[in-house]
């Protein structure tokens, strides 16, 4: 089986994903959201399977790139691109429905990827526009209830953190997951002003992952003591060193193990 967190990540979300027209947005300046008519349709097809590591993607800005993934695309992706994943096996399926279309019309290249996994819709969006997209989701798409905000660490990726928002719409009885990618020194816009409930959730993500939320009024540790070193839910967190240091300092012995 695949042992590398890199590869098992749903292929679509590979950080270096060459869906070129959009990828630059992650680091670039997608501030203005042009309708991006041609760009929109291209990526969903590409989004699904570009499993090839495609390391080149990082620098790929020319919009010519969409051709590349199409070549490498797995054949099964093409036959069943639409949303209802009648897929035989569980797993990510590219998503293209009205909802995604509306998001893309509104935010264009800031919507980086869209797919469903176990029939649950997932959108990867540009970090810089997270707050705007969250407001749009809450007010226009009626995803007014933020059920969860958390993060995932993929240490081998260039942008190692996924910040994940699970939204729910009582009106439509639907869930939608927003993801943004962030590297260790990038700040993620806080959504605390959009949903009050995000206040503690963002504090917890900061506590456990060290992700900084821009604009959070009171970002400090919540579950761990203030003087705690390190961020435990990072994959490279070394509990043994921490334990030994604590034992040395507080008990005056070499090791508690």
């Amino acid at each position: 089986m695949v042992n590398d967190p890199e590869e098992k990540q749903p292929p679509a979300s590979s950080p270096t994903d060459p869906s070129a027209p959009k990828t630059p947005a992650a680091g670039g300046e997608p501030a203005s959201a042009p309708p991006a008519a041609p760009a929109a349709p291209a990526p969903p097809a590409a989004a699904k399977p570009p499993a090839p590591p495609a390391a080149a993607g990082a620098g790929a800005k020319p919009p010519a790139a969409p051709a590349a993934p199409a070549v490498g695309a797995k054949p099964p992706a093409a036959p069943r691109p639409p949303a209802p994943p009648a897929a035989p096996k569980e797993g990510p399926v590219a998503l293209e429905n009205d909802l995604v279309k509306r998001y893309k019309e509104k935010f264009g290249p800031a919507i980086l990827e869209a797919w469903t996994d176990r029939k649950q819709a997932i959108l990867v969006v540009a970090r810089e526009l997270l707050a705007e997209i969250a407001i749009y989701s809450r007010d226009d798409e009626k995803f007014d209830w933020l059920s969860d905000l958390t993060a995932v660490d993929w240490p081998k990726r260039e942008k190692r953190f996924d910040v994940v928002l699970n939204m729910y719409s009582m009106e439509k009885n639907k869930r939608l997951r927003l993801k943004v990618h962030a590297s260790a020194d990038e700040r993620v816009p806080s959504v605390q002003g959009i949903w009050s409930t995000a206040n503690w959730m963002e504090r917890e993500v900061y506590d456990m992952f060290g992700v900084i939320f821009e604009g959070h009024p009171d970002l400090k540790r919540i579950l761990l003591p203030d003087e705690w070193q390190g961020y435990p839910l990072r994959k490279d967190y070394d509990i043994l060193t921490q334990d030994t240091a604590w034992v040395r300092e507080n008990l005056g012995i070499e090791s508690g193990q």
Binding site: D117, S147, D148, N166, S196, M208, P217, I222, L223
Partner: protein, 380 residues
């Protein structure tokens, strides 16, 4: 009155207190904080004008532990989060992993799961009622409530051998076949239980002290409840008719008829009424379910070694305290890559500051009680 969301620290630590103001520390060792919750209160005389919850005293790093256990090994850990509703926690986890695997529990298992989970809801609400009333000064209900809760725990014990941290279910179904008298035991408990609920209500519902201590205390409007992500009875008491058992049915809930009780004012009294009604509805679900428990296998098709295909899933259930969500990412190995638990207690507690402002110190215990938090789940 300061009602804007100024964090406590800016009030108490970086500004000068007013002449009449003091800071009062409550907990972590305090009988009415239901565990190890610490609340810092900023007071003007008896009036609370700001608060900050300090949590984490019971943090055990459950989410980190999950990354170092197999899917099966991690199941018993979830019982230790909300330890007065262990069955519900287990149901959420098992169903989330089943979704991840693309497996499904057989009908018989689903019905038995529903029965036990509803009994657990009753037990959890009973425990809440007893301690909540005790906090406010009504001693008697505690004895009645624990008497009935004991009956439920006996059923659990007969079913799986444990009373508190039950680990009742397995991924893919049930480990144990139901014991022979399960139906009759559940029926014996449920048949007279509505009378029992009436009995508790006769002690409290029209009791002047109870009404005085709960009506108009800790109001949360529907809009605020949604903004604060509140769920479960806290949300429903504010008038939002939303219950995951109806909205996105899981286990066998789509087969049974029941109502979603809601309140109007979103105050402590309404939350009390909503939970009382929920116990009655849970009783109805149990009675419907034992009528017809389908025969058949109790385990679905899952391998001995669980290796979910890579991907992720978010699955939420209506736990007694609200939406209990599991967000699990699989990397295709036998251990989860990441498990995030969305604890209803923690998120509901977040609204505490909103609810307490302007009330008296004595109302702090009423509001902590009405939120029905369990610190094992808040801190995980």
């Amino acid at each position: 009155m300061p009602d804007e969301r100024i964090p406590f620290a800016t009030h108490a630590e970086h500004t000068v207190l007013g002449a009449d103001e003091i800071v009062l520390n409550m907990g972590p060792q305090h009988p009415s904080t239901h565990g190890v919750l610490r609340v810092k209160l900023r007071l003007d005389g008896e009036k609370v004008i700001g608060s900050e919850c300090v949590i984490g005293y019971l943090h055990r790093g459950v989410e980190k532990i999950a990354e170092h256990r197999t899917y099966t090994q991690f199941a018993p850990y979830v019982d230790r989060m909300d330890y007065v509703a262990a069955v519900s926690n287990g149901l959420g986890y098992c169903e989330a992993v089943e979704k991840l695997l693309g497996a499904e529990a057989p009908p018989r298992a689903r019905v038995i799961r529903t029965i036990l989970t509803e009994l657990q809801r009753i037990a959890s609400h009973l425990f809440w009622l007893g301690t909540h009333a005790l906090d406010i000064g009504a001693l008697t209900p505690l004895f009645y409530c624990l008497r009935e809760r004991e009956e439920i725990l006996k059923i659990f014990e007969k079913f799986c051998g444990a009373r508190l941290t039950t680990h009742a279910f397995r991924i893919g179904g049930l480990q144990y076949e139901a014991y022979d008298e399960l139906e009759s035991d559940v029926e014996r408990f449920c048949k007279p239980f509505d009378k029992r609920v009436d009995e508790y209500e006769s002690l409290l519902t029209e009791n002047r002290i109870w009404v005085g201590r709960t009506k108009g205390i800790g109001i949360l409007t529907a809009k605020e409840a949604i903004d604060y992500g509140a769920s479960g009875p806290v949300l429903r008491a504010s008038g939002v008719k939303w219950d995951i058992r109806k909205a996105m049915p899981y286990a066998a809930y789509d087969q049974y008829k029941f109502e979603i009780p809601t309140g109007k004012n979103g105050d402590t009294y309404d939350r009390y009424i909503v939970r009382m009604e929920e116990m009655r509805q849970s009783r109805l679900i149990c009675l419907q379910a034992i009528e017809n428990i389908p025969a058949g296998p109790i385990m679905g098709k899952v391998g001995k070694v669980l290796k979910p295909p890579p991907g992720e899933v978010y699955h939420a259930i209506e736990a007694p305290k609200g939406e209990l969500g599991y967000y699990i990412i699989s990397d295709g190995t036998t251990q989860p890559y990441r498990v995030r638990i969305r604890p209803p207690s923690l998120i509901n507690l977040e609204a505490f500051d909103k609810m307490i402002r302007g009330h008296l110190v004595a109302d702090v215990v009423a509001i902590i009680g009405t939120l029905d938090i369990v610190l094992g789940e808040v801190d995980r």
